[in-house]
């Protein structure tokens, strides 16, 4: 199987970080954890790493448009400060000095945060999201804020008010969404890793489309403090990286609760104690990197028959089945089973997500921040005009639908009905996980669509979320790992879904698969079988 990696260096040919000074192309071929190691060992500095990334951005950003905001000078300055701390022994974590891209719906003190919406064009938060703050305290250095679907409503990054992002593998195709800018930036080497948010697949699906690893943890694992809310009962922040190891290390960092020691935050803000949201679980079992073992012997893996039925592209089905076969050959017990209610997940999801979105987006009224329409003579007219001019079509569509399903007379029939179905879907997963350690399937029914192909038919676009949204409804952890490419060179992703709190099982399975696949690719290169 041919896989095109247009920017990131050939993974199989890369070297283990050494002590010698590295060439710039070499730096860009490292994973986040490898770069962190090289920086700690003194082979690379944080500033050199940032310069390498900014150089790549210089080359490819004009074409790809992964970012909404890039602050080069600030990034270099921060990298210099972090380097000093590393040399002084004050920062020694795996991500210290590693450049990171942050989705533009995560608040960053002193940095513009737009949610890819016109309504937040000039919004500069006074505080930083907890997940981002954890990364900064671990020494990761922010490059900029990545493009996304407006308020994360979409699956292609085409609803951004700041223009589309292109897929680094095939520029005429979308990167997926809503965290499309983050996924494309990782794939293109415009960052070493990125943060995204996943409400219905918005980390996993773009990761799949861009050929990188993306993960959504169990609901409540990462604090949502400072994440601009979309569907609060579904939203989780998740990592995007080049390897499973990177994702485990990033997740360990962003899920931590101890990041907020008394004192001053990175931007000089008062940081007294940790700030969480009401659903943060404060888990103790977040040593995710401990699960990176190449071993699936005896692991029970279930493949839902409904995930391989009508609507699934043939090439995607083949690649995912090959991945399952590889795991089975290495000792996993893989079998097909019937996961019930799959077809009801999308209608339940869109009802709940639209309802929560309509409520969460009430705050954008042109009073305290963001865009305000001119020419309104009284308050209510100003609200309506501001929102009508400030929001794009997809946002308006979901606010209208959400307002409808929550309105008196329809609340029971639509909203409560969807919440009842959600309970049934959760139960179906509980039954599945009584028999399996992991559920395996595709991430998306097709590879990345062409630009402009999806927006004309919203319902069709929503149907593309069929394999990812259930994990959000049931609060489950799930990971997307590259497992091949189609005949056009567009990446295909493998999804592994775990039971609540069982991140380690899916990480171990994903890591094992990644190592087996890489070994297979290296063998193919050696024996000349690589077509």
């Amino acid at each position: 199987m041919r896989e095109v990696l247009p920017f990131a260096g050939q993974r199989s040919a890369r070297q283990v970080p050494g002590k010698e000074k590295r060439q710039i192309m070499d730096i860009l071929s490292l994973s986040a954890v490898e770069l962190g190691t090289a920086i700690r060992e003194g082979a690379v500095t944080a500033v050199e790493a940032m310069e390498a990334v900014l150089g790549r951005i210089e080359e490819s950003e004009e074409k790809l448009h992964c970012y909404i905001t890039i602050e080069k000078e600030k990034a270099l300055e921060k990298a210099g400060q972090v380097q000093k701390k590393i040399e002084a022994g004050e920062l020694a974590g795996p991500l210290a000095g590693v450049p990171v891209a942050v989705k533009d719906n995560l608040c960053t003190a002193g940095r513009r945060t737009t949610c890819a919406s016109r309504i937040l064009e000039n919004f500069v938060p006074t505080y930083t999201a907890e997940a981002v703050r954890n990364l900064e305290q671990a020494g990761a250095v922010i490059i900029g804020k990545t493009n996304m679907d407006e308020f994360a409503f979409g699956s292609t990054t085409e609803t951004s008010a700041y223009g589309v992002t292109r897929n680094p593998h095939q520029p005429e195709h979308v990167p997926g969404g809503s965290s499309g800018g983050s996924a494309a930036a990782v794939a293109a080497g415009e960052c070493f890793f990125a943060l995204g948010s996943d409400t219905g697949g918005s980390v996993r699906q773009p990761a799949s489309h861009c050929g990188v690893v993306g993960m959504k943890p169990t609901y409540g694992t990462v604090s949502r403090y400072g994440l601009v809310a979309y569907g609060s009962s579904l939203d989780q922040i998740g990592p995007l990286g080049r390897t499973v190891e990177d994702c485990a290390a990033i997740l360990e960092t962003i899920a931590a609760s101890g990041g907020g020691a008394l004192g001053s935050g990175p931007d000089g803000e008062a940081a007294a104690g940790t700030r969480k949201d009401s659903t943060y679980l404060n888990r103790k079992d977040i040593d995710f990197t401990s699960s990176l073992k190449k071993d699936v012997k005896g692991m029970r893996i279930g493949m839902p028959r409904d995930y391989f039925g009508q609507g699934l592209d043939g090439e995607v089905a083949k690649a995912v089945r090959m991945a399952a076969k590889l795991l089975a050959e290495n000792g996993a017990v893989v079998e097909e089973f019937d996961l019930n209610l799959v077809e009801y997940a999308i209608p339940a999801y869109y009802t709940i997500a639209a309802a929560e979105a309509s409520s969460n987006l009430e705050r954008f009224d042109g009073i305290k921040y963001g865009y305000r329409a001119s020419g309104a003579e009284e308050l209510h007219q100003m609200y309506k005009k501001t929102r009508s001019e400030g929001f794009g079509p997809e946002v308006k569509r979901r606010i209208m639908l959400g307002s409808f399903v929550l309105s008196s007379g329809y609340y029971d029939a639509y909203y409560l009905k969807a919440l009842r179905v959600k309970a049934m879907i959760k139960k179906a997963f509980d039954q599945a996980f009584a028999g399996y350690d992991c559920i395996l399937g595709p991430v998306a029914p097709t590879t990345a669509p062409r630009l402009g192909e999806s927006l004309s038919d919203p319902l069709k676009m929503y149907l593309g979320d069929i394999y990812t949204i259930s994990a959000n409804l049931a609060g489950l952890p799930a990971i997307s790992v590259p497992c091949g490419a189609d005949s056009r060179g567009l990446p295909i992703g493998l999804q592994l879904i775990g039971d609540c709190f069982q991140e380690k099982k899916i990480l171990q399975a994903a890591y094992t698969y990644e190592q087996l696949r890489r070994a297979g690719q290296e063998k193919a290169v050696r024996t000349g079988e690589g077509r």
Binding site: Y219, L341, E377, S403, F404, L416
Partner: protein, 98 residues
Amino acid sequence: MANIISDETMEYVGILAKLELSGEEREQARKDMGRMLDYIDKLNELDTAGVEPMSHVFPAQNVFREDVVTNGDESEGILSNAPAEKDNMFAVPNVMSR
């Protein structure tokens, strides 16, 4: 289309959503909403009698903390985001009719 959204309903939803849609936008929204509701009606195939609505997947408990101020005076940073301000306050259009 099974779900026909009446003018009254569109008007009502527009008020709830605080959105003012132009004629063309409004017709498109009516069509889109009808189609989505047709699709959502699929949920009616399931018998949910006796199933409790589930808003959160885990039994969530409220977490309490002491109500102490931890941030300093950020009024300057906050007001710098305001579309209009006057005397350290948010300025808004006329609320009451003259």
